[in-house]
């Protein structure tokens, strides 16, 4: 009996050694307590290799769970990830209100331009109302080009102003199954791949996430399995190209035909073969001229892209008898300074005079220099461009004709 007890004791000691070895094999928690939540998180135990998502979202303030959800104290992958919002992408529009929103974050007051999450739901990039309307009108599903349907049902944050304002008050959800014309149904099945809620087409050239990150996490050209942990307002044109300039609808087959050419340089990367364009349109990035309200909406619903997009050549270059609109930054609270703060490569300070749009949105990277001339610093590439004015240039434009196709008549680049 004694021998058996000794043997069992030896076995127990061995088992205890194995147990200690096994327990030590388990990951040890790396604990952070983000100041915004005050709650411990162990996420960095496994995710220490992730870069900080942006300078505006420092890990010591935000941690991980505030945006991503998940089980903050779990060190077992399945459990830890089981309650994450939006899987790998908490900015998907289905959950963006919970992840990115909140009155302290991006669902703040409209006056301070902090209502992004609500506004973006009304933007054409989310509603896709223009394309849906155009197709439904073409095949007789609706009598005019006033938008009726959107990807999801949506209410305008601002109602249309007056009887002559054709902007919709609300849009119903587009449901291909309820459409009668087979081409409209086919459009619904084959062509809805580039709104903010849509998963992208396969291929690195189309690679993007959904929701806010569709634009703010530049991912084109990358492996979709290796998403980037980055948020930025410095959005290169390549990210816009994940949806724009990537092919055409074939209205006979009613499917999407990706562009077949493989561009070798930026000029050929930029536009469809038949399109006309000027130098600034392929040397600058889209975000150098196009504004937040154009891309993310301003709370109104629009019938099509032409209604929402209002920046024109004259916004930067002025007209025959007027320089572009400008504003001198009076104090630290100016929105232009807040925007410029996110891009430290562009110095901007109180007292600087910047160009503004007709809707008073700042083009904060386009300044008037002390000598009266204008200079743009590109947001992505930090190249300085002098901005020539129409006024005093010898341009023979008809002042009534400000659309780009009139300017392209003289200024288009030949390929």
């Amino acid at each position: 009996m004694k021998q058996r007890i000794v043997a069992a004791s030896v076995l127990l000691v061995l088992a205890m050694l194995v147990v200690v070895w096994q327990v030590n094999r388990l990951p040890r928690p790396v604990v952070i307590t983000p100041t915004l939540t005050g709650q411990e998180e162990y996420c960095l135990s496994c995710h220490a290799d992730l870069p900080e998502i942006s300078a505006s979202h420092p890990i010591e303030s935000f941690g991980c769970v505030l945006c991503h959800g998940g089980e903050r104290l779990a060190l077992e992958a399945d459990l830890a990830h089981s309650t994450m919002r939006g899987g790998r992408n908490p900015s998907d529009l289905a959950v963006a209100e919970l992840s990115c929103g909140g009155s302290e974050c991006h669902t703040g007051s409209p006056e301070l331009h902090r209502d992004h999450v609500a506004r973006v739901q009304t933007s054409l990039q989310a509603t896709y109302a223009g394309a849906i309307t155009s197709i439904r009108y073409t095949y007789g599903a609706q009598a005019d080009l006033t938008a009726q349907k959107a990807i999801s049902a949506v209410q305008a944050l601002h109602p249309p102003e007056g009887a002559s304002d054709s902007r919709p008050r609300a849009l119903d959800a587009f449901n291909p199954a309820k459409e009668t014309h087979p081409f409209v149904q086919a459009f619904g099945e084959n062509c809805l791949t580039c709104h903010l809620q849509a998963e992208p087409l396969p291929g690195a050239a189309y690679n993007r996430l959904t929701g806010c990150a569709a634009c703010h996490t530049p991912s084109t050209g990358r492996d979709p399995e290796q998403p980037l942990h980055q948020l930025t307002t410095v959005i290169p044109y390549t990210q816009c190209n994940a949806c724009h300039n990537r092919g055409n609808y074939d209205l006979r087959q009613m499917n999407f035909v990706p562009r077949s050419d493989s561009s070798s340089d930026r000029m050929h990367d930029y536009y469809q073969p038949i399109a006309q364009f000027t130098r600034c349109e392929f040397e600058l990035d889209c975000v150098d001229c196009h504004t937040r309200q154009e891309a993310m909406g301003n709370g109104y619903l629009y019938n099509n892209q032409a209604e929402q997009q209002y920046v024109q050549c004259k916004t930067c270059h002025g007209t025959l008898d007027a320089a572009p609109l400008t504003r001198t930054i009076q104090d630290e609270t100016d929105i232009a300074l807040r925007l410029a703060y996110l891009n430290p490569d562009i110095p901007l300070q109180v007292g600087d005079t910047i160009v503004v749009t007709e809707q008073d949105e700042p083009l904060w990277n386009l300044r008037q220099l002390p000598d009266g001339s204008f200079e743009m610093i590109t947001k992505v590439t930090q190249v300085r461009y002098p901005v020539p004015l129409v006024m005093g240039s010898g341009c023979t434009q008809n002042p009534e004709q400000q659309e780009s196709n009139y300017c392209h008549a003289c200024h288009a680049v030949q390929r």
Binding site: A8, L11, A15, Q22, R72, L75, L79, S82
Partner: protein, 345 residues
Amino acid sequence: MRPSFFHHLHPPTIPARQSRLRYTLGAGGYSVFLSLVLVVSGALLMFYYIPTPEQAGPSIQMITFLVPFGGLIRNLHYWAAQLLVVVAGIHLLRVIFTGAYTAPRRFNYLLGLILFVLSLFLDFTGYVLRWDEGVRWALVAGTNLVQSIPRIGPGLYRLVMGGTQPSPATLTRFYAWHIFGLVVIMLIVGAWHIFRVRRDGGIAVPPPDQRHAPERISRFELVRREGLATLIGITVLLLVAAFIPAPLAAPMSDVTAQTADARAPWFFLWVQQLLKVGDAFWMGVFIPLAVIIILGCLPYLLPAIPSTELGRWFPRGGRLAQIIVAVLVVAILGLTILAALPTGT
């Protein structure tokens, strides 16, 4: 050698045939061992567990992933609890299949049956303390069974749940029952049970040829055997706890939300399967209660087993009881397997 405190917990000598492993299966002793493990590991868990709906899940995650050896202690508690149900069940079957439930041991048999039911309640209340998505169905469906009892159901439900629906008070009630109410009853009935083993003349009457001047072993030998069994038990339990983690899911977000995914704890899977085919009261309350009552009535309603047949496995005089219990066991195992199979197969 003067007997120590632990030796004094045992009779000076017991018949050798009564203490053979192939007769006892060691199940009663292992039940005591597992209960002790549960008390110690449970006491350690109490230092960290926070019994509120918001903090229950996070505090268990903290125990599991942050507290040094916390995961091991939790796993030990979990596996000891599961094994206790199994081992106590084996103990119950041993008593029935050796005829040890007949007079004069039939009252102690009832005490043992109560202990077995208590261990199921302890297991279920402990399971609910996880307060995570994995237990919601069992909590909602299990306690709704209480409500289905005619007349007293709604009142009993409020008593169990601390309200008319699952709420923060429910967690407090389950916690109080788990660490105090049921444990106190278990300790009293358990002590009584062990006392009655000695008072009734040991765990069973020896076979007839051994009844007069039988070969006996001393309490020193008995304690050594218990020590050996304990060493083996701890070794196995430690290894299981180190390598097989206890289940854990995301904290329950809304306790009143419906869940389509029916998942009872394994020892109630047979009841879950019964509920698929019939009324909640008859299938979920009446039949389980009937099983307990049938088991409890065996020594009182069936004819006594002749003394000459006692002391060995499967005495002829206990055939009817053996068949009844075997049928119950097969039915419960069958229903459990059916419920555990993936749906659709």
